[in-house]
């Protein structure tokens, strides 16, 4: 049994619990899917975990702003316990709806150790619709982000209708200056997407796809690393596979970049 315990928060219309748990298991952790109410009523205890994941889905159907009601429910019922969890040096990952919940809770951006202030919005895509596509991403090597360490570029799917990263100028400047911008939409060649659709799929300011808090231990992103847990998840795999075979290579069974991102978190806990 692994020494690293991951809490996958589920319920109320969230839906990426299975694959997120699977991906963390591949990354060497012990992942447990826990219903939000089991955490609230004490059936499950945050003290037993080192990584907490806010997963993708449609909590409360996203009816009043994506992730808003989830953030309110958690803040109202177990806000203090979550802040204690952060204080203890643990890790939090928010993916898609989870990222939206983190910014609405205030866990991100976490300026000045204030983890309750809302200063970022993930709002309606500029394209006006929900969109499922794979994106090219580049990381920020100067960022403190635990999750992106040693990863230069990645490809993951985005699947959202409200993923446009928005904040006022001052907030954006600070995020950029302090290297809290850990992940940005890019072109296939690694250059910035520069707001160009569909490379930047939602109109996010500064192509921002994911940010971390100043400590690098809380990370939120719109793309889905857990959806790239196996090489056959990649949209080009049949092409890459053919090319490899012609060169006498078999497909690499090494971990995908999605799994490596989670391994970073697991290893961080292990080494802490």
């Amino acid at each position: 049994m692994s020494d690293v315990n991951v809490l996958i928060l589920a319920g109320y219309g969230l839906n990426c619990d299975n694959e997120t748990a699977h991906a963390f298991a591949l990354a060497g952790a012990r992942a447990q899917v826990v219903h939000m109410n089991a955490l609230i009523n004490g059936e499950a205890r945050l003290e037993d975990f080192q990584i907490m994941v806010f997963i993708g889905g449609f909590s409360w159907a996203d009816d009043h702003g994506a992730g808003v009601v989830q953030a309110v429910r958690l803040k109202t019922n177990i806000g203090e316990r979550i802040l204690d969890f952060v204080d203890r040096g643990n890790l939090i990952l928010g993916i898609c709806n989870g990222f939206q919940a983190l910014v609405n809770f205030g866990l991100l951006p976490g300026f000045d150790q204030d983890y309750t202030r809302r200063s970022i919005a993930l709002t309606y895509n500029d394209c006006g619709n929900f969109r499922d596509q794979w994106v090219y991403l580049k990381t920020n090597p100067a960022s403190a982000c635990v999750f992106t360490r040693g990863i230069k570029a990645a490809e993951f799917p985005v699947r959202h209708g409200e993923g446009k990263f928005y904040a006022d100028e001052a907030t954006l400047e600070r995020l950029l200056a302090d290297n809290q911008v850990a992940l940005q939409y890019a072109r296939p060649d690694g250059n910035p997407a520069d707001g160009c659709f569909p490379y930047n799929p939602n109109g996010s300011l500064h192509d921002i796809a994911g940010i971390c808090d100043p400590t690098g231990r809380i990370f939120g992103l719109m793309p889905h690393p857990e959806a790239y847990h196996h090489w056959t998840n990649h949209p080009d795999w049949t092409r890459v596979h053919q090319a490899a075979r012609r060169q006498g290579r078999s497909p690499a069974d090494s971990p995908t970049v999605g799994i490596r991102m989670l391994q970073n978190a697991v290893n961080h806990v292990r080494c802490a």
Partner: protein, 998 residues
């Protein structure tokens, strides 16, 4: 005091919703608007104090970064304001989640009559706009009068203090529930009451119903519980259960089939038994992987030793036709309850869709309730929200445009689930109710919505069809219930589970009680959305997101605890018995007491005259069209035809990779934009097996012969699976028939006998093909009455009947997902092969349709000749010899070579004279014939001997080469180049019709 909160994006932020409306107003109606801003409104009809109002405003409903809000009207500039809100009783999903959020934040509980109503206000700016134009935008873009109301207010009449006022669309029935007794003194009386109460009883059923209630023993029995003549609850129960939708009277009917050409006649007794049940039962004997068919909500096949997959398909045509969004979301969310209610419960793993609508750019004189463009928009969005918010990948789908669907559109929805083979050591596919167990209703509450949906689906659409059966599905409530019920299943708590779909409790309890052989239901315990429903309404309401579950009394506490944890409402509404009776009471007074086996006996079989007139006798001939000179231009125009061109905008709106199970996506290729033959998903992430899924729809061939339409659809579905690497011996099918009315009437339906013959022939083809390809039918449904009556230019009414349509869905296991193949060409210098023989079969083709012709030579399936080719290709793929494989479908070889080239973004050089063909001497026929049984395959040149060795030389030929230069070149039979087009030009043409849509 009620309050109204207005919320809008800050002024400097892009309002994507408003912009979308501005664009559509211009694109659809040519109305130029300069700016549209949307305001979200919550009308809060609850007792909250000012501090509480402030708290919910700031903490829940206003994003401080992006939004502004006010309990006064927001001062957003406009020339006109359009307000759109729901009519009373229409499901308001966002209103319901707002209540949940407020209750949680404030720690309060809303009173039973308190609620939140959401609506929208659109602030429209533009110069010289006329009220008519605003009306058009409101009525044809923003709202549907069946479910919504709207107001249009010019700036000059706007009251900045009151705004739109406080509008509370609360349902107030002020009605005391009553049970009526219905006199049955004569057949005529009952027939009259059937019409008055919209029971849709079949006239031939009426004597059977009367004789039951007049039976001396039955009367004595009824007297003991205080009943005499039938109650309305009882007649509604019978009506629902006997409806064509639930009982499939058409497919179980007696057909008098006559071939008017040969004079031969045949008595066809029960199409379901002879063409669906019998072949499937026989195949189940041969194929141990077939686990459960022909009785449950979905059929089950073995995925691996530990898991079974389940599949079913549905249509939701009539509701979608009236309210596209509501109908479609209700359809997809509804079909997802079928796997959930299969065996002891299955987890949903994927969904599929098929839409058949009128031409998107229809400009003719007929006036359908919703223009096809708007209808399609609504249907796409309904399935988008229903699928995405359920967390189920929508992986595969198709759209067909045809003027025949102007009368009624078709919305097919398919669902696949997975269950463990055993639960607590017991077979998961088994379930039964037993006397003494609790009858539990889980999920949503019951309202007037959906009443008589089943009987309406069994009627032709007219202006008088009641709109009450239009609903709006609520994937959020259902997702919570799904998660809850699967946890309950895994704890071994569920003895029986089924969904409340058509017919509501009447159907789910009526059917589940047969296992125990009786039930006692206390209707007053059923949770209602609002008071005032009559007992019969509670009994037959089709309010969504409900399951009926049977739980042992000793498990009840644990079940209820789990239910509470998942925030799902569950209520014990009765118990199963062994009395042989369906016994319903309300506040202790019996309102129904019927023998459960009544429905199984004594009802007469429906009968149909079916006259077949062969195509030649109907005057169909091959058109005389001589070889085109401009094959390149023709090919580009073919690629831009609506039924061939790219529909990427639909696929991208659907989350097709949630659950992390995606292997072959709906769009593939170098630029990830070409339609895959089938999709492959991994329902069990730890396994290296996959499930391949696909669908085929070829209604155009019905214009010649529905037999061949059906045969070609099945053949196409099989080839689609073979192309991605699915196991040929493990294919299961789902048949979804959508047919125009087949009951002959000299005036109303003069060609009813012919349409009946088409149905018989389609079923024969289904039987023949399933036998030939050894495909058990894991599930299937039929939706008859696909006709509509549309007003024309002069106020005259036209009956529009849909082409006879079958959607055939096919599923199979992929042994090892790493062997899957996609359809895009992979490497320069790879060899291109065509498998299968091209014949002069342009009848019903897209090519003929391009010239408004039908023709005669419809493609024919020669299953015994095709099968060895499929086996060989299957073997080649599993041996890793194939770089790409793609079937040749609608549009023929030319179109599909182009697809392969576009997929790889590589060129190709092809010689038509090398293409295996019989009786073809024209380039156009080779390029566009739609002969079945064919593939395009590309392979690594080093594999060519091993590959060719697998095939008979007559069915496999090397026709060309993949080239690095992205130029698409085809040489004709005379060896001259007849097509030379850049691959980018092919793609531009293919994307032109809908490429700008997002």
């Amino acid at each position: 005091m009620p309050a109204r909160l207005e919320i809008a994006l800050k002024d400097h932020l892009l309002d994507a919703e408003g912009e979308g409306i501005r664009h559509k107003a211009s694109d659809y109606f040519g109305i130029q608007l300069s700016r549209v801003r949307s305001v979200h409104i919550l009308t809060i009809d609850a007792d909250l104090n000012p501090q509480q109002f402030k708290k919910i405003q700031t903490e829940i409903f206003t994003n401080p970064v992006t939004q502004v809000s006010s309990f006064e009207p927001l001062a957003i500039p406009f020339d006109w304001t359009i307000w759109v809100g729901y009519r009373p009783g229409v499901r308001d999903n966002a209103g319901a989640t707002a209540v949940e959020a407020i209750e949680d934040l404030l720690g309060v509980t809303f009173a039973a009559d308190a609620a939140i109503y959401t609506s929208r206000r659109y602030c429209v700016q533009g110069s010289n706009l006329a009220k008519d134009e605003l009306n058009r935008i409101a009525g044809q873009l923003l709202a549907n009068d069946i479910i919504q109301q709207w107001q249009i207010i010019p700036q000059s009449k706007w009251n900045p203090e009151n705004g739109i006022g406080i509008i509370i669309p609360k349902v107030q029935l002020d009605h005391i529930p009553t049970v009526d007794t219905v006199p049955i003194d004569s057949d005529k009386t009952l027939a009259r009451i059937s019409v008055e109460r919209n029971l849709a009883l079949n006239p031939s059923d009426i004597p059977t119903i009367r004789s039951y209630f007049r039976d001396k023993n039955v009367q004595a029995d009824r007297a003991r519980v205080g009943l005499s003549d039938p109650t309305d609850v009882e007649l509604e129960y019978i009506s629902q259960a006997r409806s064509d939708h639930c009982n499939h009277n058409t497919f179980q009917g007696l057909f008098h089939y006559r071939d008017l050409t040969t004079g031969q006649s045949e008595r066809v007794d029960n199409l379901f038994k002879t063409c669906i049940e019998a072949p499937t039962r026989a195949l189940k004997e041969q194929k141990p992987w077939v686990i459960s068919v022909l009785w449950d909500n979905a059929g089950a096949g073995r995925f691996d030793d530990e898991h079974y997959y389940v599949i079913t398909g549905e249509t939701h045509n009539s509701p979608s036709n009236m309210e596209a969004y509501g109908g479609a979301i209700t359809g997809i969310v509804g079909v997802y309850r079928d796997p959930l209610g299969t065996g002891k419960g299955s987890r949903l793993v994927m969904g599929g869709y098929g839409y058949c609508v009128g031409p998107r750019d229809y400009r003719g004189d007929l006036k359908p309730h919703l223009h096809p463009r708007r209808l399609l928009d609504g249907v796409i969005e309904g399935v988008r929200d229903g699928g995405n918010k359920s967390g189920i990948p929508t992986t595969f789908g198709q759209v067909i445009f045809d003027a025949g669907y102007l009368g009624k559109c078709l919305v097919f929805v398919t669902a696949v689930g997975i269950m463990p083979a055993r639960i607590n050591g017991e077979p998961a596919e088994h379930k039964r109710t037993s006397p003494g167990e609790c009858v539990i209703m889980c999920g949503g509450r019951v309202g007037k919505d959906g009443i008589h949906g089943v009987t309406a689906a069994s009627e032709t659409f007219s202006e008088n069809t009641p709109a009450g059966h239009v609903q709006i599905g609520d994937p959020y409530t259902q997702k919570k219930m799904h998660d809850f019920l699967l946890e309950a299943r895994d704890k071994g708590l569920i003895q029986f589970i089924t969904d409340n779909g058509g017919g509501g409790l009447s159907s789910s309890i009526g059917e589940s009680a047969r296992y125990a052989n009786g039930c006692e239901i206390e209707l007053e315990k059923v949770p209602l959305k609002y008071e005032g429903l009559d007992q019969w309404e509670i009994w037959v309401s089709e309010s969504q997101e409900r399951m009926t579950v049977s739980i042992r009394p000793e498990d009840l506490d644990e079940f209820m605890r789990l239910s509470e944890k998942h925030a799902v409402e569950s209520t014990v509404i009765g118990r199963y018995t062994d009395s042989g009776k369906l016994h319903i009471s309300y506040d202790g007074k019996t309102c129904a007491h019927i023998d459960l086996d009544l429905l199984k006996h004594g009802f007469p079989q429906w009968e149909f005259e079916a006259d077949w007139i062969a195509p030649q006798q109907r005057g169909l001939v091959e058109p005389v069209i001589d070889g085109p000179q401009e094959c390149g231009m023709l090919l580009l125009d073919m690629l831009a035809r609506p039924n061939i061109c790219s529909t990427e905008w639909i696929v991208r709106q659907y989350d097709h990779e949630v659950q992390g199970s995606s292997v072959i996506k709906p769009l593939v290729g170098a630029e990830r934009d070409i339609n895959s033959d089938a999709t492959v998903t991994r329902p069990v992430l730890a396994a290296s097996k996959g499930l391949a899924f696909t669908q085929a729809l070829l209604p155009a061939y019905s214009a010649i012969d529905a037999y061949h339409m059906t045969a070609c659809s099945i053949d196409e579905a099989v080839r689609r699976l073979v192309a991605v690497g699915a196991d040929l011996d493990h294919i299961g099918g789902v048949d979804n028939f959508c047919w125009p009315s087949i009951q002959y009437h000299a005036v109303e339906n003069p060609d009813g006998k012919f349409k009946a013959a088409q149905l018989v022939r389609a079923c024969w083809a289904l039987r023949d093909m399933c036998k030939a390809y050894a495909i058990p039918l894991l599930s299937g449904k039929d939706s008859m009455y696909v006709d509509g009556h549309l007003p024309g230019r002069y106020g005259e009414m036209h009956k529009v009947s849909a082409p006879e349509t079958l959607q055939f869905s096919a599923i199979s296991v992929v042994e090892d997902i790493r062997n899957c193949v996609s359809m895009d060409s992979k490497m320069p210098d790879d060899l291109i092969y065509v498998l299968g023989i091209t014949r002069d079969e342009l009848g019903g083709s897209e090519y003929y349709a391009h010239f408004d012709e039908i023709g005669l030579n419809v493609p024919r399936v020669q299953a015994e000749n095709f099968w060895p080719v499929y086996q060989a290709l299957s073997q080649a793929i599993s041996r890793g010899l194939v770089a790409s494989a793609h079937g040749i479908y609608r549009g023929g070889l030319g179109v599909h070579l182009a697809m392969v080239a576009m997929g790889g973004h590589l060129g190709m050089q092809v010689d038509l004279d090398r293409v295996p063909a019989t009786g073809v001497n024209r380039d156009a026929t080779l390029l566009f014939s739609e002969s079945a049984g064919r593939f395009i395959v590309t392979i690594d040149p080093s594999h060519h001997q091993e590959f060719e060795h697998l095939f008979e030389p007559t069915t496999c030929a090397r026709v060309g080469t993949v080239t690095a230069a992205p130029q698409f070149e085809i040489k004709g039979l005379d060896r001259t180049t007849i097509v030379s087009v850049a691959v980018s030009a092919l793609k531009a043409a293919w994307k032109k019709p809908f490429g700008d849509l997002i």
